[in-house]
């Protein structure tokens, strides 16, 4: 309450303010109000003093009333002062850390010491040449000098302005450039700029729509030795699984790999997956990290098979049956391509149990296979021989299991399932069945004798479980085991990857022979 309102300094006697301004400021009335406010405050203080001395209880109601009146009056005066004092004084609303340092400077009417010295130095420098002259002459000289400087400044400013105009300085920020240009033109430029910047920065406008993502047939030289393009207009990376290329799915990522190999399916039918799959950096796979070898590919397929198997297990049994039927059909489709048994490396690789497991995987052969099939055919036409070998290997792998399965798969119910699966316009099957395949299916079926000749095998759980041939059917178990060992021997004799093509051919007759044998065995 002690703050006396800051009044504008009362006009000094010597220097009178402009009378008009003085009237506008209304200083007299302001003074009157300020004085009366001071008196009111003094009264309140006196009252308090009296309370203190006489030790009486103050009448708070009255005091509060007086206080609010004083407060209001003070507020009014401050407002008034603000209005009139704008031109003369700085009236900070409050002092804070930000303005604390500068406030004294702003409020001070005296120059800072360093400013004062600077000022004096300048003055002396300026008057050096003319000090000896009489005062009027000094003034004249200084005026002339000021004029010269002003003219030079003006010149400089004009030059700057012209240059700015010529080179477009100063128009950079803001749309001030636009009026100089035709509106339509400016809009066009803006649009082009956006296109260009978008293209460079995030590729907007340069992406091809998915349906036009056809890779050029004539690859530029710097890509020709890096990429191989198949007929489908997709990139075929040599030494990569076809599944990945054609379907664009990466089923064999590291995490899945770990998860798969750790999980051990608990279903009774599939309980033979005891050995974990090899990691890509395991001794078996050494040297195949960068370019997957055929063996590597087979391993990859196994992962898929395992995944498929776990999916299969989750299905109800009738669906399992259906799936099996489809799978069998797919197996036959693969075999139509006339590819031999090229699973030698894998078989070499896995002994005993491992082999058993391998065959099991075949038994549950799987949907992913059907999907790339169409592309495979195109693929074969164009792919390098390396790719071809891999391709044929991956399919050739199917054959032995297929042969056996078709034998086992002889119940009447099963053949009915076959037929329905073939006939039904399943979205999965349609794209994969080329006309050639569907035609050749029939004789093939006959060849395998898929008819009700093996009644004890019609039960679905048997079908799922008897890939090993040793769960049921005593005679057959022995025979099949013999076959297996024969087959293994044959395959071992076939040697390495190098002469894969010939292997396929030479294996083909073996395959047929086995088929024939099995057909004979079945009626027993």
């Amino acid at each position: 309450m002690e703050t006396q309102p800051q009044q504008p300094p009362p006009p000094p006697v010597a220097e009178k303010l402009n009378p008009k301004l003085e009237k506008e400021l209304n200083l007299e009335s302001l003074k009157t109000r300020a004085v009366s406010l001071a008196k009111a405050i003094a009264r309140i203080l006196e009252d308090f003093d009296a309370y203190g001395r006489t030790n009486t209880t103050p009448k708070w109601q009255d005091i509060l009333g007086q206080y609010s009146m004083v407060n209001l009056e003070l507020f009014n005066i401050v407002e008034e002062v603000k209005r009139v004092s704008n031109a003369f004084v700085v009236l900070p609303k409050n002092v804070n850390a930000m303005n604390a340092a500068i406030l004294p400077v702003m409020l001070s009417s005296k120059l800072l010491p360093e400013m004062e010295t600077d000022d004096n130095a300048k003055r002396e420098q300026l008057l050096q040449g003319v000090q000896s002259l009489p005062i009027p002459m000094q003034i004249e000289r200084l005026k002339a000098r000021m004029d010269m400087i002003a003219a030079a400044c003006e010149n400089a400013e004009r030059v700057l302005a012209d240059t700015r105009k010529a080179y477009g300085f100063g128009t950079r920020q803001g749309p001030s450039m636009l009026p100089t240009m035709d509106k339509g033109q400016a809009a066009k430029i803006q649009e082009q700029e956006k296109m260009l910047r978008d293209a460079v920065n995030d590729g907007k406008g340069t992406q091809l729509p998915p349906d036009q993502r056809q890779i050029t047939t004539a690859l530029p030289p710097h890509l020709a030795d890096v990429l191989i393009i198949n007929d489908a207009g997709k990139i075929a990376l040599p030494g990569q699984s076809n599944n990945i290329n054609n379907q664009g799915m990466m089923q064999v990522s590291g995490t899945q790999f770990v998860g798969r190999s750790a999980a051990s399916p608990s279903g009774p039918n599939f309980d033979n997956t005891t050995s974990p799959l090899p990691y890509s950096n395991s001794p078996r796979a050494t040297g195949m990290v960068n370019v997957p070898s055929p063996q590597h590919q087979i391993q990859q397929q196994q992962f898929q098979q395992q995944q498929q198997r776990s999916k299969l297990m989750q299905l109800p049994q009738h669906q399992q049956q259906q799936l099996l039927a489809q799978q069998q059909q797919q197996l036959r489709q693969s075999s139509m391509q006339g590819l031999g048994q090229s699973q030698i490396p894998a078989l070499h690789d896995m002994h005993g149990q491992a082999q058993q497991k391998f065959q099991t995987s075949h038994g549950q052969h799987q949907m992913p296979y059907s999907q790339p099939m169409g592309a495979h055919q195109q693929f074969q036409a164009r792919q390098l021989s390396g790719g071809h070998i891999q391709h044929s290997m991956s399919q050739g792998q199917l054959n032995p299991a297929m042969n056996r399965h078709l034998n086992q798969f002889s119940g009447g119910a099963n053949s009915a399932l076959f037929t329905s699966a073939q006939g039904s316009p399943s979205s999965q099957m349609i794209p994969n069945m080329s006309s050639m395949q569907s035609q050749t299916l029939v004789p093939r079926m006959q060849q395998f004798g898929v008819s009700g000749t093996n009644p004890q095998r019609s039960h679905s759980s048997q079908m799922l479980g008897d890939q090993m041939f040793n769960t049921s059917g005593m005679m057959q178990t022995q025979q099949t085991q013999i076959q297996q060992s024969q087959q293994q021997q044959q395959q071992q004799q076939q040697g390495g990857y190098g002469n894969m093509q010939t292997n396929q051919q030479s294996l083909q007759p073996n395959n047929m022979m086995q088929n024939a044998q099995q057909r004979h065995q079945n009626p027993q």
Binding site: K165, A166, Y167, G168, F169, T171, R172, M177, L178, T180, M181, A186, I189, Q190, Q192, E193, K194, M195, L196, R197, A199, V200, N201, G203, G205, T206, Q207, L208, Q212, R213, Q214, I215, T216, A218, L219, P220, P221, H222, L223, D225, V226, L227, G233, I235, L237, Q240, G248, M250, S253
Partner: protein
Amino acid sequence: MSMECVVQGIIETQHVEALEILLQGLCGVQRERLRVHELCLRSGPNLGVVSSEVRLLCDLDQPEPTWTVKHVGGAMRGAGADQISVLVRNMIESKVSKNALRMFYALGYKLDHELLKVGFAFHFQRTAHISVSVSSVNKMPKVHAIDEAVPVTPGMQIVDVTAPATSENYSEVAAAVSSFCEFLAPLVHLSKPSISTGVVPTAAAAAASLMSDGGGTTL
């Protein structure tokens, strides 16, 4: 973390020659031809939750094309970043062999888009190592068909000024870049990539004056 300072602008193709003369005079080095096939690859869903993006650049102007892989990270944000007139962002790049493309495809990266940049560039030292490239940006009608590439904007080319920086020195580098850009102001306005500048309305006059007095001496 390595960073770069970037500004970008556009110039009408008809003034590109004048810009080249101006740059020649400012940089004091010979220009380099620029012919770069830029492939932007994006990772598939199998490689982490957030998709990542890499750019493979193939310099086609070399007798044997050379490849560079480049990852452009996020731009610096905040009040400090707003106050400087250039964009500061994380950037990592490395020379790679030609097998890089195949490797990224095998990893599951997919081609997002590709560009063919044709033009010229100047690389010089001025407080920072500054690169100025002026290029026409071409898109392909078919994947990888650089022979059939067509300009995105036929009458307009892009000017990129970049300089490598670190988290310690980026403010000096940014200052060097922006002070260099002042010299280009008669022909091209440069700004952060996201900010549109338009063309310089008086570029024609500046270009004419550049072509008349200094033009013959530099080429």
